[in-house]
């Protein structure tokens, strides 16, 4: 059983489109995150949710909207995709600060 699973693994789309990435964790963790990893492999936090409540919202364009229907799921919707949105997006969960379990990533390519 995959602890943190995100879909799709690859996402290729045109500029201006709207897309969603889904994430589910079966670890029973209270906190979930979205991280963005750029082409230089730098990993930066975007959002953090604790028990469905948004607790961290880094300086992310409001085209990015996370949604947590329950504490096991955290989805990421992106409107009006831009070339600069191309990156690998990771979902993660944790119960202990600093001890994160990551999904295998979604590679987003905006053409």
């Amino acid at each position: 059983d995959t602890a943190v699973s995100q879909t799709p693994k690859y996402l290729v789309t045109q500029m201006g489109n709207d897309k969603s990435i889904k994430c589910e964790q079966n670890l029973g963790h209270d906190t979930m995150y979205w991280y963005k990893q750029d082409s230089k492999k730098f990993l930066k936090i975007m959002f953090s949710y604790n028990n469905k409540e948004l607790i961290i919202n880094e300086t992310v364009p409001n085209r990015f909207s996370p949604k947590s229907p329950d504490k096991a799921h955290l989805n990421l919707h992106i409107n009006s995709l831009e070339l600069g949105d191309s990156a690998v997006y990771f979902c993660a969960s944790s119960q202990v600060p600093g001890k994160l379990f990551f999904g295998s990533g979604t590679q987003l390519s905006v053409l």
Binding site: K41, L43, I45, L100, S104, G105
Partner: protein, 109 residues
Amino acid sequence: TQLLEQSPQFLSIQEGENLTVYCNSSSVFSSLQWYRQEPGEGPVLLVTVVTGGEVKKLKRLTFQFGDARKDSSLHITAAQPGDTGLYLCAGYYAEKLVFGKGTKLTVNP
């Protein structure tokens, strides 16, 4: 300004060699974590160091937390091709986990 500075950025060595990766900051951390990421996968936690001066060993990997809790190092003894990957240090700061830019290690057979 990067909160956690890692060096070197790239490291390519031969199987059997030893290596050390450094993670430095001007800020004090209550703990630091080391993660390893393989291509196409998410980072996986290797270790957490909590106490200043602490040394933790994980088989051929030795992790050290600086006395002042501002820096950490990862030493690998007799590196193997299976150690190839991106090594990331991370620290919990302002209620979020921040990462260094990583060290990409390649161990050649």
